[in-house]
């Protein structure tokens, strides 16, 4: 007889999904800082993408509109970059976001000590627990960053329309914008994973009695 306990991947996904759904508001709290950080990241990048779209476009009046909106377009420049200040702010916001997630996840995991201990009594291995938390984090990360990316994208379109004018829609770099959104979502999932790793490892390693005694 094979003496191995198992948790099929599909079952893990199912459990993780249900767990998020049932704890919707707890998940919302964990995800909020992520939504904001990804929204900000996408906002900054999409703003620049739009400006670059105009710069590279052939629509007459583009350069004037850019200069009019305050962009520093030297004759013959090939691209507009984010300012150092913007980049610094983005990095900072992502850092704050990770700290926020770790904090929220530590609380969320602590609330579930008894559940973790019980699962271990039923035969769960450390890595089942770890996998469940990781999957939850990826799902939350994906949904959160998707929302964040959309918010950032729309905010950037709106603000550039106000700043530069409707001319931006004449040479909107759709492909680049999509790529930016996808990168933003990827970054969000990654941050969410990084944020849950420490709490999840701590929880998974606990002895069942320890976990069940902790309140």
């Amino acid at each position: 007889m094979q003496r191995l306990v198992a948790l099929p991947f599909s079952k893990s996904v199912e459990i993780a999904y249900k767990s998020i759904r049932v704890r919707f508001f707890r998940s919302l709290i964990t995800t909020t800082s992520l939504v904001l950080a990804v929204a900000f990241l996408c906002y900054v990048q999409v703003t620049t993408d739009i400006a670059n779209g105009l710069l590279h476009g052939t629509v007459p009046g583009s350069i004037d509109a850019l200069v009019g909106a305050g962009y520093d377009v030297a004759p013959g420049s090939v691209s507009i970059g984010e300012t150092a200040k913007q980049q610094w702010l983005v990095v900072l916001s992502l850092l704050v976001c990770v700290v926020g997630i770790v904090n929220a996840q530590l609380m969320a995991v602590t609330e579930r000590f008894r559940e973790i201990g019980t699962m271990k009594c039923l035969g769960a291995l450390d890595r089942f627990i770890l996998r469940l938390f990781m999957l939850e984090a990826i799902m939350q990360g994906f949904v959160g960053s998707l929302v964040g990316a959309l918010v950032g994208l729309l905010a950037a379109l709106l603000s550039q329309t106000l700043m530069i004018g409707p001319i931006i829609f004449s040479s909107l770099p759709i492909g680049t914008l999509l790529l930016t959104a996808v990168k933003g979502i990827g970054t969000g999932c990654l941050l969410s994973l990084i944020g849950v790793t420490y709490p999840a490892i701590t929880a998974a390693r606990m002895e069942p009695v320890e976990a069940m005694r902790a309140e």
């Binding site: 094979q2 003496r3 009594c121 039923l122 769960a124 291995l125 069940m212």
Partner: protein
Amino acid sequence: MEQHAIVRTTDVKKSFKLGKHTLEVLKGISLTITTGRYISIMGPSGSGKSTLFNMIGGLDKPTSGKVFIDEVDIAQLDAYELAWLRCRKIGYIFQTFNLIPVMTALENVTLPMTFGGTGSDEAVERGMELLRLVGLDDRYTHKPSELSGGQQQRVAVARALANSPSIVLADEPTGNLDLNTGEEIITLLKKMSVDRGVTIISATHDFKMLNVSDEVIWIRDGLIDKIEQRDELNISVGNIG
């Protein structure tokens, strides 16, 4: 059937470090439990029942001494074997029920089957059967928060039996229940022991347990005070009643 020692402990001691002090909770427990019996571990609160429960269940390690399940020293098991033991050999019942709050009654019962490698369809079928056995098949979609204490404990009994374990360990299974509900759970456990030949080991200070026990191990201050068989018991129960 020959008398087979399903659980055996030899001079099990357990102490906890509390700052500079060491609190010795179990001071040398040696006992042998044979298959298929209903055993009660009786003792006042704080006498070390739960601590012994954790040792026998492989949930915690003794400071010294050995615990054998089916004549296997569980200290020698690696993480995988230990998980397998908890999953297939032993069913646990707790005073506080400890159902997974986000799962339905049926999902709670089928979770150990999933860990044990049972396919989804079979798990659902067997899970429903077990819920029927404890009289809760009509509540299978309910979450623990939608069930009463007694009902939660019955789900926990069904869950403990999920993988047809040889041992069911129960720590104060009636501790959080009122008199009647507690009695129902005791009857249910006794029925499981008789019908399925499961060895039931229950830590308790509930004297209602005495009526159904084949053997009672009295614990006092981390030591075995006395061990009484069923026939000897009737006399002392009379005294208590």
